[in-house]
């Protein structure tokens, strides 16, 4: 399977994180795969992960909600509201996590450009503040990593106190 453009994630300006990724398929298919629940649940999340809830009300003002988990792992839920739906080239929605590690909800503007049957997706995630954006760039998302971070925090706190 070809991977025309690998995933890139980078900060942009003060409050944004940009994702870009190519897909070897027409954008109408990519748009469907990202907005239809029976398709989203087939790919969302890393390997070994499953969406246990996938609800999408694809209309302006409609909500979506995902809950994912690993076998024996904790659940991670998130969702938001659609603001603009313009298939197959543009989708704008908000996003907020049940257990957020950054303040406020963010707004994701996803655009799909197609050239020679290849779709380039660009998703610009805009956070409410620079601090929120920077927190996402640095913070753990999965709780296993989060637990480890807490241990790391203890070590560093202990060092600071001269324990």
């Amino acid at each position: 399977m070809s991977n025309p453009q690998p995933l890139k994630i980078f900060p942009q300006g003060e409050r944004e994180i940009v994702f870009t990724r190519g897909f070897d398929a027409p954008r109408a298919l990519v748009f469907d795969a990202m907005t239809k629940p029976h398709l989203v649940e087939r790919w969302m999340g890393p390997r070994g992960w499953n969406l246990v809830k996938c609800e999408i009300d694809l209309r302006v003002g409609g909500k979506y909600r995902y809950v994912g988990k690993r076998p024996n792992g904790p659940e991670m839920g998130w969702g938001g509201v659609f603001r603009e739906i313009a298939p197959p080239d543009r989708l704008v929605c908000t996003e907020v996590f049940d257990d957020p590690w950054y303040p406020g909800e963010c707004v994701i503007t996803t655009t799909f450009e197609e050239k020679d049957g290849i779709t380039l997706m660009t998703a610009v995630t805009e956070y409410v503040t620079r601090e929120a954006r920077d927190a996402v760039m640095k913070s753990p998302m999965e709780s296993g990593v989060k637990d480890s971070y807490e241990r790391l925090d203890e070590v560093l706190a202990g060092a600071a106190q001269g324990a």
Partner: protein
Amino acid sequence: MDRVRRLDATFAALADPTRRAILARLALGEASVSELVRPFEMSQPAISKHLKVLEKAGLVSVGHDGQRRPRRIEAAPLEAANTWLEEYRRFWEEGFEKLDALLEDMKAARPTRTRAKRERRGR
């Protein structure tokens, strides 16, 4: 060691309170094994065992200073543990790899115009 296993080793080493205390002490400056034993109610072999785990995880190195073999804290694995962006990237990349496979299925299920044309020509 690959990155994930290295992180596992780092976090496993950090999971023990004695080892965290040793690291906290070394964060203030290098120390010999006997200096490290003093504040703990533990035998030297027990402390040495913990030091071995920390050395294996790359969190502590052994210096050479004449007769002394001072232990030092190594910052790099702790920094690696902080490189969250890599985890974030992996979360999405693995999902997108599954999406690539799904798109192949979708393309096969819904013939494109070129493919339909090719099939017509073939007839």
